[in-house]
Amino acid sequence: MRFATAQPPQWPSPSGVPGMMRIVILALLPAILVSAWFYGPGVFFNIIVAVIAALGTEAIALRLRQKPVAATLGDGSALVAALLFAFSLPPLCPWWVTASGTVFAIGLVKHAYGGLGYNLFNPAMAGYVLVLVSFPDLMTGWPAPDIGDIDYQRPGFGATLQYCLTGRFPDALTLDAIARATTLDRVREGLGAMRTMDEIRMNPVFGDFGGAGWEWINNFVAMGGGALLLLGIIRWHIPAGVLGGLLGMASFVWLLDPEISPSPGFHLFSGGAMLGAFFIATDPVSSPTTARGRLIYGAGIGILTYVIRTWGSYADGIAFAVLLMNMTVPLIERWTRPRIYGRSA
């Protein structure tokens, strides 16, 4: 009897990239829903624009590079990048901001460097930084979260949609009238105006640790991250590094002078700390592959995030910290290569 042959191993891998991407998307979903609960339908509009732009750009880029379009689109990586980028944006955001960031992320940061697996930089964060420096005014579209005791005006579904499509609100409303400083912004400004943390925290936008609402989004992001850890999609090293680095820096400075330093808990549950630690820094392509390397990489992101938040000119530093650490990955990997079995160090 004759049989077909193949090279060993005869047992193909049971895991797959599309499956991993699907799990990442599912793990992010609860946090997206919570974000929409607090900040309104703008969260979904951003995602819709980013997903359309990402899939379109990916298809065009693949076509130009003469690669199979349908098969590669199905790997889900462009979708994940689009989701993470859209999730980082302010909920009130005109479509061209979202689209230009996505086109840049997928077209240039990903495909110009060789597509899936070859990009040096995290596409979502590169896209975010591009729109942050290109449209600084439009990147302030954070309404106050929908929490009972915060009294202020929120745009409805129609107004949000109109703003997303045209960049204008109906009825002579302006972005300035709606947008509120994020908690990280408030801390920056407050400390800059020589107020103490206790005074700053009197404002109702502060919750138990971080910003009201924001800390809940961070909780759900952390839970999604926990699911990724349990399912073996990510390893603990990078999140531990990021959160450890941020916590270490924040605790050290806070212990020196708690009057004028935000608490370590505030740092962990504000801004993009959890998203960065579990979903962004863990992007496999742009992070190291060794266990020790991942700890170093993560710690670098945590420390840089603190440095940028505290002494830089941006309120949150995750995106810059991730891009800066992306640059060090080849070097980290070189330094942390494991000792080969049977060879001396």
């Binding site: 049989f3 191993p9 047992w11």
Partner: protein, 500 residues
């Protein structure tokens, strides 16, 4: 807690490796089936590093079961024995599994009534034999490593010399395979007896029999056998059931916490490793005078009617084995000799089994899993975690694709044991191990041409030296003093014109 017969009760949990489905119980429900002699055997004469034995029979000759049919051509290499009684019908080249081409084989056709050759004495008290004599006897017994390498046991013992530690490997870590497990369950006392003889052959002070945590029956049988033997040198050790914990180097790391130096052998750190089946074969020879003519093979897979372990004569065809296990059911799509990770896919079931064949799997593609299309590496690092040699497969992959042999060398491709754990972990379905086999060939070729270049250079430099020496000894153009003077005078005359 401190049981004197359990060595290293809490062995290190390996950080490397992969967990695969086990699928071993398919074939462990029935006891080992002793196969009757098949109608025909094709016995390969090659063992170890491609060295063949010299036939001592001619076509047409009748042989008895167990009679020597070929003698070794190198020290420590095994004698080959007729595995059935019958008539030698041919001595010639036949295809075998895994080989790059046909190898010399002796074909024997069964005759009625099995006559047994009893030219070997039994040594009921082999412990009285000197070590060198034990090794000579093992070579005569035709014993080779039954773990899969086919390396002659006597040659391995000879080259190891004296080692304080003997490791008997019963930790078969590949899915489906259960031949060592079943051997331990049913003949643990033979394994222990063989371990004692092998210990005497290398002067080992401790003989550790390594099994896995998922072999409780084997463990019980071994503990009983060790009890009965009352030999303080014999101990067992249980390692985690993770692939590839049964690899020689990996097992040494888990059991003894030590690493075999790169490019070295276990003997360099005072350890010699043998398969439990090899130990049982040694015991069979010393206790019964029976040379190596059979081994236990797992015949399994969802396309086998009655999966089981079979003690089969060496040279039996795979098709005969499958018949013994009830034949094929459904449509077998893949026939694997060995385990699913390192085994070879056979094109044909007429090939004979050798002493290295531990398993035959007839499987459907559905059972193994459909191979997906290859995607680019996403640097997830799962292969780095899986690699038992602590290599970085994704970096090796780029080095192979760039044909960068210097980088392949520095990244340690020679330490790759081709276990396939990286392939199994890869979400992009990159055929890494196949690429690394290519990489090893590239490196070997580069080293060969480097060696050739260095020989050519040495030869060229030697020639230049020789020519120079000849020139010095006998100048070809002796300088004519007069002609030189004339030339100089002409140059001088011309000089003033030029300075004008």
């Amino acid at each position: 807690m401190s049981d004197p017969v359990v060595w290293n009760p809490q062995p290190r949990r390996p950080a490397w490796g992969v967990r695969t489905p086990r699928r071993k119980t398919l074939a462990t429900r029935a006891p080992i089936l002793r196969a009757p002699p098949p109608a025909r055997v094709t016995i390969p004469l090659v063992s170890g590093a491609g060295i063949s034995a010299q036939p001592v029979v001619v076509a047409g000759q009748s042989v008895r079961c167990g009679e020597p049919v070929a003698t070794p051509t190198a020290a420590g290499y095994p004698c080959i024995h007729a595995s059935i009684a019958g008539r030698v019908t041919d001595i010639g080249l036949y295809p075998v599994a895994g080989g790059s081409g046909p190898v010399p084989c002796i074909v024997i056709e069964r005759s009625d009534g099995e006559t047994v050759w009893d030219g070997y004495p039994a040594w009921p008290d082999s412990s009285l034999l000197p070590a060198a004599e034990i090794r000579r006897q093992i070579s005569a017994a035709g014993i080779v490593g039954l773990g899969g390498a086919l390396f002659p046991t006597a040659a391995k013992l000879d080259s190891a010399g004296q080692t304080p530690l003997l490791l008997l490997n019963g930790a078969e870590c590949e899915a489906y395979i259960s031949c060592d497990d079943m051997l331990l369950r049913e003949r643990a006392e033979r394994v222990v007896a063989g371990g004692r003889i092998l210990s005497a052959a290398v002067g080992a002070e401790l003989c550790v029999i390594a099994i896995k945590t998922d072999m409780p029956e084997a463990r019980r049988a071994l503990l009983d056998a060790i009890d009965a033997a009352a030999d303080p040198r014999m101990v067992i050790s249980t390692v985690t059931a993770k692939y590839p914990a049964g690899g020689e180097r990996q097992l040494i790391e888990l059991v003894f916490g030590r690493e075999v130096p790169a490019g070295g052998r276990p003997a360099d750190i005072g350890i010699i490793c043998q398969n439990v089946g090899t130990a049982a074969a040694v015991a069979d020879f010393f206790l019964d005078g029976r040379p190596l003519i059979s081994r236990v093979i797992t015949v399994t897979g969802s396309s086998i009617a009655r999966p089981c372990n079979i003690e089969a004569r060496i040279g039996t065809s795979v098709a005969d084995l499958v018949q013994l296990a009830g034949g094929y059911t459904g449509t077998p799509e893949r026939l694997i000799m060995g385990g699913p990770m390192m085994g070879i896919a056979l094109a044909d079931d007429e090939l004979p089994i050798s002493a290295a064949t531990n398993c035959v799997i007839a499987a459907t593609v559905e059972e193994l899993g459909e191979a997906s299309a290859e995607l680019p590496c996403i640097r997830c690092g799962l292969c780095v975690e899986a690699c038992p040699a602590a290599l970085m497969p994704q970096e090796l992959l780029t080095a192979v694709r760039d044909e960068n042999t210097a980088r392949l060398e520095s990244l340690g491709i020679s330490e790759c044991i081709e276990c396939g754990a990286c392939d199994y972990s890869c979400p992009s379905h990159i055929p890494l191990t196949a690429q690394f086999r290519t990489g090893k060939r590239l490196l070997a070729n580069a080293q060969l041409s480097r060696r050739e270049a260095s020989i050519a250079r040495t030869r060229f430099e030697a020639r230049n030296r020789r020519l120079a020496d000849e020139n010095r000894a006998q100048p070809e153009n002796p300088v004519d003093a007069d002609a030189l003077q004339t030339l100089l005078a002409r140059t001088r005359r011309r000089d003033p014109e030029q300075s004008d």
